[in-house]
């Protein structure tokens, strides 16, 4: 017990110094003292509930990816069959029940059609994307494989995450955290945000821009009842447009999408002074836009944003410059927002906010101040209690407690973990519980002395006999902490982190360090009796 070799002492002090040292940059950041730049800068991050900011959980609509994919495949199939040499004639394409089916006019062309479809079916990746079956000799059925679908959802999420990142960067917020979570979710954390509404509006906007020809043959009465003529579909007008409340029938095919843009800016219409958005197509998009407008001069086309018609102007002349102007009853703010959304690209899938937590910076600062004060007062009370009860041994426990807190902070900084509001409760709990080890040891030493053991034997027995219960208790706490970490989310996780790291630092300081100090005291002073 008294035998503490020098190498072991050096080793213990080294660990202590390292952990405590790691806490210094975090502690100094609250003061005006600067931590030298040449040294490493481990820092404890403050959670959003302390620093202020927004946590937003977005969920994608996986079913939408599925239907979008089906739609793309339909267009693909039509193009392939039309461009085949010689052309393969097919009947109507059905997309019911989540699969694609169509009849070949000439059953003898089944093999040729299959051959042509193969590249699309197999896709460009390792997984096969579609299953192809032929029924009744001439009906071809394409069913999406679940692997292919998973892949498509995963791809969509990846690019959605990228789009979200671009949009948040456009807002100029610093250090946003954007992480994919699970199969269809994205977590966005933005510290110190002033206007979460703006962020939410921006993230909720899919910004899928389409230009489609208006179906002029549709009967207005049918359209208002939602009955689309064959080959057409019906979209409602946007709430901000002049025709809000009514709907419009547009041709399903033959339109173009606004996903290949090189730029988008908010601007004002020179005539009406109304806020508008100017867009520029890339060369491919510009060519297609020019073709659409050239082929349909004199006819109206609808500008559709996220399934709502913004406006349906007449094409007065071909638009060949590769740029266009979108109007639709915007305010400067919504026009600006649309410009940002279009610049950063359309989201491949709709995202909805399913959880949002925002904390204002004032409340966070107040929480820290109150938490710190409560922690300080609590510590002082624990210290008084310990010293009053155990005298010299209480002083050792107190010193261990101080080092414990510093080490806990240091390890948190080194591991780059986040301190949350419940984490502060974790600190207080650790302070109150850390001395339990010393209480156990000291009470045991008292008992051993009462039974008449000599000082050294009593201390030795105290440490040895108490260790068993200390380890058992900490292991069960560790189990509870790990489960809390696994099941918990956000702030609660921050609590679990403090508890878990606190267990390790408590055992180290309360058991090992105090033992070293007590041993040093007994060896130097060789007391006949100890006050305990």
């Amino acid at each position: 017990m008294l035998d503490f070799p020098t190498w072991r002492k050096i080793w213990l002090w080294l660990i202590t110094a390292l952990c405590v040292g790691a806490a210094l940059p975090s502690l100094l950041s609250a003061t005006s003292v600067r931590w030298p730049d040449v040294l490493p800068q481990p820092m404890v991050n403050l959670g959003l509930d302390l620093a202020g900011g927004s946590h937003i959980l977005l969920e994608a609509d996986a079913a939408q990816v599925e239907s979008q994919r089906l739609e793309n495949m339909e267009e693909n199939v039509r193009n392939i069959m039309r461009r085949a040499e010689p052309r393969i004639r097919i009947g109507d394409v059905s997309t019911r029940d989540g699969r694609l089916s169509f009849m070949l006019d000439d059953p003898s062309e089944v093999d040729r059609a299959r051959e042509l479809l193969l590249p699309s079916i197999n896709g460009t990746r390792l997984v096969r994307e579609w299953d192809l079956a032929v029924e009744d000799g001439s009906r071809m059925i394409l069913t999406p494989t679940s692997d292919g679908l998973d892949q498509a959802v995963s791809d969509a999420m990846e690019s959605a995450t990228e789009v979200v990142r671009k949009r948040i960067d456009e807002l100029g917020t610093r250090e946003p955290t954007i992480i994919r979570q699970g199969d269809t979710r994205i977590v966005v954390q933005v510290p110190g945000l002033q206007d979460p509404d703006q962020l939410k509006a921006l993230l909720g906007q899919t910004a899928k821009l389409e230009f489609k020809l208006v179906d002029q043959n549709a009967l207005p009465s049918d359209v208002q009842q939602g009955l689309a003529p064959p080959g057409s579909e019906i979209f409602p007008y946007a709430e901000t447009s002049d025709f809000a409340g009514s709907s419009l029938a547009v041709r399903r095919l033959g339109g173009i999408r606004g996903d290949n843009l090189t730029g988008a800016q908010q601007s004002f219409d020179p005539q009406t002074n109304e806020p508008v958005v100017n867009i520029q197509f890339d060369s491919d998009g510009g060519r297609r836009f020019a073709k659409l407008t050239t082929d349909n001069v004199g006819k109206p086309f609808a500008i559709i944003l996220d399934g709502q018609v913004l406006s349906a102007p007449n094409i007065n002349e071909p638009i060949r410059g590769g740029s266009a102007q979108i109007s639709g009853g915007f305010s400067v703010e919504t026009a600006n927002q649309l410009a940002i959304s279009l610049r950063s690209g359309a989201l491949p899938v709709d995202l909805a906010v399913i959880e949002e937590r925002t904390v204002g910076p004032d409340l966070g600062a107040d929480s820290i101040r109150r938490g710190m004060l409560a922690m300080a007062v609590g510590s002082v009370m624990v210290v008084i209690l310990m010293i009053a009860t155990y005298g010299r041994f209480g002083v050792y426990a107190t010193a261990a407690l101080g080092i414990n807190i510093a080490m806990l902070l240091g390890i948190m900084a080194a591991l780059n973990t986040t301190l949350t509001l419940p984490g502060i409760a974790g600190f207080v709990l650790t302070i109150g519980a850390a001395v339990d080890a010393n209480v156990l040891i000291n009470e045991r030493i008292r008992e051993e002395r009462k039974r008449g053991r000599r000082v050294i034997a009593a201390v030795e027995n105290g440490y040895n006999e108490a260790s068993r219960a200390i380890y058992d208790a900490n292991i069960t706490n560790f189990i509870a902490g790990v489960l809390l970490f696994l099941f918990g989310s956000g702030p609660v996780r921050g609590f679990a982190v403090v508890l878990i790291i606190g267990l390790f630092t408590s055992v180290f300081t309360a058991l090992t360090l105090t033992r070293m100090w007590v041993a040093g005291y007994l060896r130097k002073a060789k007391p006949k009796d100890i006050v305990l």
């Binding site: 959880e355 925002t358 938490g371 502060i424 099941f487």
Partner: protein, 325 residues
Amino acid sequence: MKLLKLVPDDTNIRFLKWRVPFFAVSILLIAASWALVATKGLNYGVDFAGGLEVRATFTESTQAPIAELRNDVEALGYGSPVVQRFGEDNQVSIRVRLPDEVSADKEAAQEAANDIVRTLQTEYDDFRLDGNDNVSGKVSGEFRQTALYALLAAMAAIALYIWIRFEWQFGVGALFALFHDVSLTLGMFALFQLEFSLQIIAAILAIIGYSLNDTIVIYDRIRENLKKYRKMELPALLDLSVNETLARTVMTSLTLFVALLPLLLYGPASLFGMVAAITLGLFVGTYSSVYSAAPILVWLGVTSDSFVPTETVADQQEKKARGLV
């Protein structure tokens, strides 16, 4: 210097003498707790019920206009809100559990949340939005499920550990004590209708951990004494063990309590429920360690033999060879 002794030397309280009535009280309290949870229900916060919670400060007022706020939000037609003081007198929390058809539609739920905040911001000049939580029905359902799993998994894992380290009777005793602590905490939350959130689950898991500290310390001493006093009656031995560790039990509970007290009284309002749960659990946990975890061992028939290794064939042969048998 004279040191403080919270528990006088040679204290000998016969805890186990009253084990039947106390245990009956424990069972009764557990039953009452669950009855409360079943009848009054838990006051789920937005984490578990979904909906919207807005926290705000009225910077120019000394008193938040709670009644007006209730009317204003109710007028919006999303159901009647729970408006409470939160922290200082001019701070409030407004909780709205959105109607089912609104919360089922993600966009409508989002719109409702914006609507409420915007209305209050325009209605009151000194309204400062301190924060808002907006949880959809889907997410809150997931939270309820994971919270339940976490509690069950923690109790099972800990009971298993105790069983491995001690004996099965100790595992059962510890599990019962944990069940007791969790039940009573839930019962208190149902009785006082305190907001039940994810933080409270975290608090309960922490209680499970720390209540077990007491149980383990007592169990460890029981095991030691079982080996030491082979002939002692079990109730007497348990009394001895509880008394021997009593000073430690009191001291540890006290240090935890004085550490938590400032946080409970002065800490941030958002932490109050959590700290209150932990403080409550501290007392309940200490009680259950002494009055549930220990007496159960009597009824489950723990004996000294539990910890004495059984004789193996090799031992018997050795004894024979030495002519002891």
